[in-house]
Symmetry: C2
Subunit: 165 residues, 2 copies
DNA sequence: TATCGTTACGTTATAATATAACAAAATGAT
DNA sequence: ATCATTTTGTTATATTATAACGTAACGATA
């Protein structure tokens, strides 16, 4: 069992990635079973493709891999986007907004908002736990040189909350 | 002079927006003059269009307004994207990654990374100046009900910094 | 196991966002 | 006036995402 709370930068280190993959697939299965949701072959297939690395993938990258796998079929975009939609809704993957790309969740089932350290060189992504700690401090801790940070909080402003009443 | 440090939620309040517009245009002019950069008619026009409101605009929204303004010309996407590129490079506007949209900077020339509170109801955006850790507290302060937060820190991981040597 | 409502998948077309590549014009420094 | 540089204009195309609608699989129930 890889504890990503202790090694939040696992994505940036050499490690037994097979174990990552197995562990996350198992967690995904269990999570879906618990919630009585169907991790269908397609959804599982997309998740497996995404588990190939700790780099985010664009929907069309995933699509290309799907079409390379089953040389007979001609999979179309909506299939991929639907699988991504399901996986995101269940917190098995996250969207990296600044890249229009998607990445597997490092610890499925977490409550707090996901936060990422994205290396613009190797393109690997580490998912860190929000907790109380400052993310920038955490980055500094990990020796991660911050280049650009995107912080976007979406919600409803006070005025609109009144009107909605 | 509107002090957005004292009123970080100015975008969510009733206020004299003409003053916002005038003030930001003046700041933009001065900033470009200081840096010996050209705030050309096109760039200024795009900035003015964006100053219409505190809501982010897509590149094609801006394009549509350009084409409505000069009914003769047929402005094409690259023109808009180039103006946006310039304005972003100089910190006069910011990109809202989670919306593929752009918004004028609330206080041009600031050093720290921009952070936003985006209302998914009225779609107005407040730019706040706080550290990442206290942003959620700030949101709470302003009565902003957080719905979804995107925190993306891009940089170079420790390993890649070694290889780059 | 036949039926039926629901969920997931497949297919086609198209919308929305963004950039490549190259030509023409404007700028500003000799 | 000339020329290098920057900015703008133009055409075409790449990339990302969704609408709309039909088919198949599933899973509960009779
Ligand atoms: Zn791994
Ligand atoms: Zn996660
Ligand atoms: Zn205003
Ligand atoms: Zn700003």
């Amino acid at each position: 069992m890889i504890d990503k709370t202790k090694f939040p930068d696992i994505a940036f280190r050499k490690h037994d990635h097979r174990r990552c993959q197995r562990q996350l697939l198992t967690e995904a299965s269990q999570l879906c079973a618990t919630r009585k949701l169907r991790l269908t072959p397609r959804r599982r297939q997309v998740l497996e493709i995404m588990l190939a690395s700790h780099q985010p993938m664009g929907a069309y990258d995933i699509l290309a891999r799907l079409n390379r796998a089953d040389s007979a079929e001609r999979i179309a975009p909506p299939i991929v986007y639907r699988a991504l939609e399901f996986l995101m809704a269940e917190g098995l993957i996250h969207r990296i907004e600044s890249r229009n790309a998607f990445i597997t969740c490092a610890h499925p089932g977490h409550e707090s908002a996901a936060q990422f350290l994205i290396c613009r060189d190797c393109e690997r992504v580490a998912e860190v736990e929000t907790s109380a700690q400052s993310l920038l401090a955490e980055a500094d801790n990990l020796g991660f040189a911050v280049d650009h940070s995107v912080v976007e909080i979406t919600g409803v402003c006070a005025e609109c909350q009144k009107h909605a009443g």
